[in-house]
Symmetry: C2
Subunit: 555 residues, 2 copies
Amino acid sequence: MKVTIGQINTTNGDLTGNTEKIIAAIEKAKADGSDLIVFPEVATHGYTSQDWFQDPDIIRHSLDPLDKIIPATNGITAVVGCIKPNENPNGRRLFNCAAVIHDGKLIDFAEKTLLPEYDVFDDPRYFEPNAGHYRLYEANGVNLGVVVCEDFWNDKTFWKERLYENDPTDIVLDMGADVVVSINASPYNKGKIGLRGKMVSHRAKLARTPVIFVNLIGGNDGIIFDGASLVADEEGDIILQAAAFEEFVETVELDVRKPDARGITGGEPEAIRQALVLGIRDYAGKNGFQKAVLGLSGGIDSALVAALAAEAIGPENLLCVMMPSPFSSEGSITDSEELIKNLGCESRIEPISDTFEVLLKQTKLDKPTKGGESLAAENMQSRLRGVILMAISNAEGRLLLSTGNKSELAVGYCTLYGDTNGGLAVLGDVLKTEVWKIARHINKTAGREIIPNKIIDKRPSAELAPNQFDQDSLPPYELMDPILQLYFEQKASPTEIIAAGNDAELVYAILNKVENPANEFKRQQLPPTLIISKNAIGVGRRRPITHKYRRNKDL
Amino acid sequence: MKVTIGQINTTNGDLTGNTEKIIAAIEKAKADGSDLIVFPEVATHGYTSQDWFQDPDIIRHSLDPLDKIIPATNGITAVVGCIKPNENPNGRRLFNCAAVIHDGKLIDFAEKTLLPEYDVFDDPRYFEPNAGHYRLYEANGVNLGVVVCEDFWNDKTFWKERLYENDPTDIVLDMGADVVVSINASPYNKGKIGLRGKMVSHRAKLARTPVIFVNLIGGNDGIIFDGASLVADEEGDIILQAAAFEEFVETVELDVRKPDARGITGGEPEAIRQALVLGIRDYAGKNGFQKAVLGLSGGIDSALVAALAAEAIGPENLLCVMMPSPFSSEGSITDSEELIKNLGCESRIEPISDTFEVLLKQTKLDKPTKGGESLAAENMQSRLRGVILMAISNAEGRLLLSTGNKSELAVGYCTLYGDTNGGLAVLGDVLKTEVWKIARHINKTAGREIIPNKIIDKRPSAELAPNQFDQDSLPPYELMDPILQLYFEQKASPTEIIAAGNDAELVYAILNKVENPANEFKRQQLPPTLIISKNAIGVGRRRPITHKYRRNKDL
C-alpha cells in the first residue's frame, strides 16, 4: 500500500488557497500511484482560527471546501482534516473531524473525541466532542482507523499522567484497524520531534499496527507547526520521518521496511533556528510584509534576530537601525556594523540624543547615573527608540521585529512601549543562554563568523545608564535560566524547583520578580511571541495581572 | 430560616485577606441570628486566578483556608466557594466546588459539573467536572441543593440554546431540595442584572422552590463582578436584590414574603458607570496604585475617563496632562481646563511641539497635511504623548489610564504605543455612542455640568493633522455602533447583521476594517480592558492576527 503524506502549510481562513494545496497534493499522490493521502487537522480552514470557528457564516459554509476536494479523489482515498456543523441544537456548533473521501465520494467523518484545553489549546471553546461514533474505513483492502490529533495522544501505556480516561485510538485498534491514521496540528516545542517519534513507535509496536502520523507545518502568529510527519511500521520502526519546518508531500510504501532518509537532521539548536526562521517568514509572508526593520543595539539579542530575519526574508529586505544614546558603548556601533556587513542587510543610524535632551529638560527628569534611581529617564531612551522604529515601520511598511529574550521578559527587564515594540517578538520564548547557543550554532554551521564573537562574548548591558550591566540588577543568566525553564516549561512550583537542586533564596527572588504584577502587566502587552517551548509567555501561559499570591518558604 | 448573603470582594491569591473577609461575614451572620451564610464561587482563592490553579504548591495547599474557616462556623451552616485537589491521577488537578460547613465541621464538597469555556471563561483548563456526586445538605431542617455557577445556568425551560445536555440543578431539585443555593462568579455585562433576576425567578417559580443566588463582586483586571445577589421565594418573587458593585453582607428572612428595598436602582447608563468606577478603583487598589495619570485631549473619551477616575480614586489623586501639538484646537486646552476645574483634579501642560519638530526633521518625515498621506507623522505625535505619560507614570508611580473607546479600537482608529498606552483601558469596551450617553448621564445625575457640554457636543477629532475629523476616515458612529454591537456582543455574522436591517456595503466595509490583521495586531497589545459586554475585546474575544478570512457577498 502506498501512502502520501500531505504535510502542507495552511493559512487561517484561506479557504481557496488551502483547498488548492490539498487538491495539488492529491494530484501528486495520484501521479505517484498512491492509495491513500493524509492531510493535517483542519487543513481546510487552518487549525488556529480561534473565534472564527464561532462565526455563523463560517459555520454554515464550513463544508464548502469539500465540494471542490471530493471530485479530485478519483481512484484514491483522502483523509482531510476539516470542520463540520453540529446538527444537534445543544452543544458547540462544530465538530473537528477527518473527512474520509474515496474515489469521488465522501464516505464519512471521523470526529475528534478528546478536546485539549491546556497550553495554547482551547478546543472545547469551539468543538463538540465525538459522542461515540467510531468505525473503520477500507482503503485498498486495508482497514483504516482514523483519529484526530489528541485522540492519538492519550496512550495509557506511554504517558505517566493523563487528562482523559478514554482512548479513541484503543477503540479503533480494538475494532480491528490494520493501520492507524492520525491527523495532527501539533506545534513545535523543544524535544517534541523526538517525543512524537517515541510515542508513534511505541503505539505501533505494542499494537503491531502501522501508524501514519501526519502533522501540520507553518507559522501562525506565535504558534509554529513543525510538520516532521512520521510513518511507523508494525515493528514500531520509523520508516518515514518527513522533513521538519517545510512542506512535504511525498509518497511512501507502507509494506516495505526501508527506513527513509528524507528526515530532518540536526538536534535542538538547529531545530530552534529553523522554527524561528519559519516563524518570521510565515508571519511576514502571510500578513503581506516583504520588508522588516529592527533596532540593532550591539548586543546579542538583536544580533541574533537580525541573522534569523536575514535568513527568513532575505538580507536585502532587512533594515537594521542603530540608535545610539549618550550611554551607548563604542562597540554598539562598530560591532553592529560588522554584523551588518556579514549579513549584507541595509542599515541606518538614528541617534536619540537630541530628542532625549529636549524631553529630559521638558519633563525635568535627571539624567541617568551609575546605580542611580533613574528608571523614568532610562525607559525614556528605550521609548524614543521605539518611536523612531515605529515611524520607519509606518512610513516604509516594514514589519518591526522586537528582540527581547525570554529571560528578560520573564523578570520584567525590558521597557514597555520601548524595546518591546513590534509586530513579532522573535526571541520572546528563547532564554538568554539559549540565545548564546543558537548564535554560536549559526556561526559554527556557517563555518564563519556571521554574528561577531565580540557581540556573543560581550557582557550583557541595556546601556541606558553609565556603565550599566544586566547583572547589576539580575542574577547571572546561567543561574536564572534553569530556574525559569523548570518554572515555565514544566510548570514547576518553587518547592519542586528547589527540590531539583536550586538555591531556595534564589528561586524565591526570581519567582517574585516573574510573578510581580508589574511584570505580568508588561508581558500581557507584548507582540505575539514565536513559541518554542511548552506553556510559553503569551497564549500558552495565562495569569491575571492583579493577584496577591506570594511565594515564601511556608508555601 | 434566616440566610446571609456573603457578597464579598475577593482578590486573586489573597488567601489571608479573603479568609478574613469570609470569617468576618460569618461572625456578622451569627450576630444576625442567621442559619445559613453563602459565599461566591472560589471565594478562598479568587475565581480569576487562571494558571495559578495549575501550580502544584497552590494545589497542594488549596484546602488551607478552610482550616481557619471551619472553626468559625459554630451554630451556623456556611457554603463557601473553594477549590479541592482531584485525587484521581488522571484528569485536571482541581475541582471547583462549594464546601458545605456546619457547626465547626466540614460536611462535604459539592463539585461543579458544567465547566464554561466561552467568552472570558476557561474552566476546563483547570477543573475536573463532577462525575455524578450529588446530594442534599440539611440546614435547620431544610434540605439544601447546592450548585456552583454554570450548574444553575442550563435550565432547558429558560434558554433557547444550550451548551450542555444535563442540568445539575434539575438533579438536586429531583432529589427533593427545599431550597437551591447557587454560588456564582458571574461577571457584569449590559443587561446581565435583569437577566439573572428573570432566570432565578423563573427557576424558583417553576420548581416552587426558593433560590439563594450569591454572586461575587469586584474588579479583577478587566473582569468586573457586579454582585447583585438575589433571593427568590417559591412564587418566583425576588425577595432580596442585593446592592450591585459593592460588598453586601446582609441577612434576609427566607420565609417572609417581603420584598427587600436594598437593591440597586438605576438602569443601564448608571450600571455601566458604576461598573467602570469599580473596575478602576479595584485595579488601582488591588495593585497598590494610589494615584493615576491620563492624557486629556479636549475630546469626550479622555474627559469621561477623567470623570470616572476622579470618582474612583479621588480627584486629588488624579493628574490630567494636556499635551498640545501644532494641530490641537484652542478648545483642547480651554475645554480641558474647565473639566479639570469641575473635577478638582491636578493638571499639567506638556506640549509635544519641540520634540516633534526635532524628530520630524531627523526622520525626514513630512508634516501632516489635511487629507495627506502622513500616517507616520500623525502617529508620532500620539507616541510622543505616550512617552511623556509613561515618564510621568514611571517617575511618580501613577497608574496610566488609557482612554480609547471600543468603536475606535474595533476599526483600528488608534495609535499603538501612543494613545493606547496604559495600565488599564477604561473605555475599551464602551462604544462611542455609549460614551456620549454615560457622559450626559453623569451631568444629569449631578444636576450640573461636570463634563462640559462643549466637550460632549464637539465633532470627534484626533487632531493629528490640520482640520482632521474622525468622520473623514470612518462612517458616523451612529451608523457604526449598532453594527459593532451585533458583531461583538451577539457574535453575529455579516449575513445576520444585514438581516437585522443594516446596509450591506456598510457592514462589509466596517467588518473588513475590524477584521483586518493590522487592527487585530493592535488590539492584541492593548492594556486590560474593563469589560461591560459579552465577548469583549481582550479575553472575551480570541482571534488570530494572521488570517485570510475575507467577508464578501458570496459568504
